[in-house]
Structures are given as C-alpha cells and as structure tokens.
C-alpha cells in the first residue's frame, strides 16, 4: 500500500474530462457481427430506422480508440460494466461518441488491498441535438497483485 494517496490533484482533475471521439454508424455489418458473437445467429437484420438489439453497442467500439487512462497501479482488471439505453439504437443512424472519465476513487482493503477504481463511459448521442441515446460504462480496478488476496467477493 502506498504511504500516501495516489489521487493527486492532477489525477482528480481528470474526473469529468470528456474527449469527443468521432461519429459512428449503426451499420448492417455491425449488427450482423454482434448477432454472431452474442447469439451465434445470422440474418439480414431490421430495416433502416428500426430498432436493433442493445449488444450492437459493442460493435461500435472498434471504430475508435478511447484515450489512455493513467496507470497508477501495476495491475488492472474490469470489475463491472454496464450498458444504458434511453431508447433502442436504430439501424442506419449516425451517432457521436464521447469518452468521459466519470469518477476516480480509491479503496482501502477488500480483495485487492489498496486499489483505485476508474469509471469511464462512452456516450452515444444524436448529432446536432446532443441528446444521449446510450452509454457504455466500464469500471476498472487498478491494484498491486502483491497486496491482493485470491477469490471472495469484494
């Protein structure tokens, strides 16, 4: 465990910082790839403008790379992730992607020992209005394997 908090003012200043990534389109190919991964199925998909399943959100990840997150500890692991939808994604629509660091917090104790949680989100919003349609949220825990204990719930 470090002798003092690793959450310096510079690190705290990252909370809330947002980076526009690019625009992405919900394409038929994205739909078909996601369907293959999650259901092992193949079809032509819905017509333009119709709803697509939420897991298509993962197929939009590869279009852009998120900005790097500072590595404050030697190891990093995904502890939770989440998809949020204000409405279903629609076939053919174009959306703007924005990456944001939602929160950075530290934890003392638990299965990882001293650890730092970094919660990030990629928001998909309608161009022009900026109305958020969906969010893909990840929480990574950074930790030192030497301080962690095996198994058990956090």
């Amino acid at each position: 465990m470090p002798e003092e908090s690793l959450l310096t003012d510079d690190v705290r200043a990252l909370i809330g910082s947002a980076v526009p990534l690019s625009t992405v389109q919900v394409t038929r190919r994205a739909y078909q790839r996601a369907l293959d991964v999650y259901l092992g199925e193949h079809d032509q998909g819905p017509a333009e403008g119709e709803d697509v399943p939420g897991y298509v959100i993962e197929a939009l990840n590869s279009e852009t790379d998120p900005p790097p997150i500072p590595a404050l500890m030697p190891q990093s692991i995904l502890i939770s992730n989440e998809w949020q939808f204000e409405r279903p994604l629609r076939m053919g629509e174009t959306l703007e992607k924005t990456h944001r660091i939602v929160d950075i917090s530290e934890r003392f104790g638990g299965r990882f020992g001293y650890s730092i949680n970094v919660r990030t989100e990629v928001a998909l919003s309608e161009p022009g209005s900026g109305v958020v349609v969906a969010r893909n949220v990840h929480t990574m825990t950074q930790y030192n394997a030497a301080d962690a204990r095996d198994g058990g719930e956090s």
Partner: protein, 139 residues
C-alpha cells in the same frame, strides 16, 4: 414462451434460466468485434501467466449474455434500458454457465412502465461469477 405482461408482473417472478457454454471461438469473435486482443482471452499459456487456469470469458461479453437472457424473456413486450454486470469470478471458456434472473421491482416512472431485474451468472459449481442488474421498459 409468452412475453411478460406488465399488469401481471409480480416481484419475485423468475426469468427462465438460460444455459450457455461460451467457447473459445465465441471469445475470439468477441475480441474481433472490439478489435482488442488481450492474449489471455485466447492463449492458454498467456492465461496461465496471469494466474488463470485457462482462457476466460471477457466481462463485456458476459454483460451481453445477460442482455440476451433478458431479451429472450422480454421478447417484443418492451426494450432493455439498462444491463449491468459486477464481475466476481472468472468464467473459463468451454464451461457451462447458467444465467438466472428474477423480478425485483415493478413500477411506473416518467410515465413509463418499468421493472428492475436481479440477474446472476452461475458457474458449474453453483457460484455466482457475475451479479447483474437490468431495467426493462414495457411498450
């Protein structure tokens, strides 16, 4: 299986369990979907080097499998507003998992009919590898 009806939904109602066995091919296709290829997802030796007994199922793939279980139950009755997975234990590829769920809350909010669902992925030893949560909105 008939789609749930909001008026008939009760707290404690259980979703039909969904039994799956994610395999290495599915994991590799998931990596390709994201164009992100951490070796411990597809290389058993790389997995062992980071303390895993074998290749594991990626967390974001598992949240999608929970989504799939909810979608199979909900059908055309509504859409899934939220699905969340808190990862407790790794799931190895080619091992059976069961996705279970129950209705935790039935309510109206912002003029919409919604239900909260408690979800879990159970491994073959009966241990939860994921504690999940979902919100569905009825049409």
């Amino acid at each position: 299986m008939s789609a749930p009806v909001f008026a008939a939904l009760r707290e404690g109602d259980e979703l039909p369990p969904l039994e799956l066995q994610p395999n290495l091919g599915q994991v590799i296709r998931y990596c390709a979907l994201n164009w992100n290829f951490p070796p411990f997802f597809y290389d058993p030796e790389a997995a062992k080097a980071v303390g895993m007994p074998g290749t594991i199922v990626p967390g974001p793939l598992k949240v999608g499998l929970i989504y799939r279980a909810v979608e199979a139950w909900l059908g055309d009755a509504g859409f899934i507003r939220q699905v969340r997975a808190a990862h407790r234990r790794p799931d190895l590829t080619n091992r059976p998992i069961t996705i279970a769920g129950r209705v935790a809350r039935v309510y109206e909010e912002d003029g919409e009919q919604r239900a909260d669902l408690e979800m879990a992925i159970m491994n073959q030893d009966g241990q939860p590898s994921v504690r999940g949560f979902a919100v569905v909105q009825f049409r």
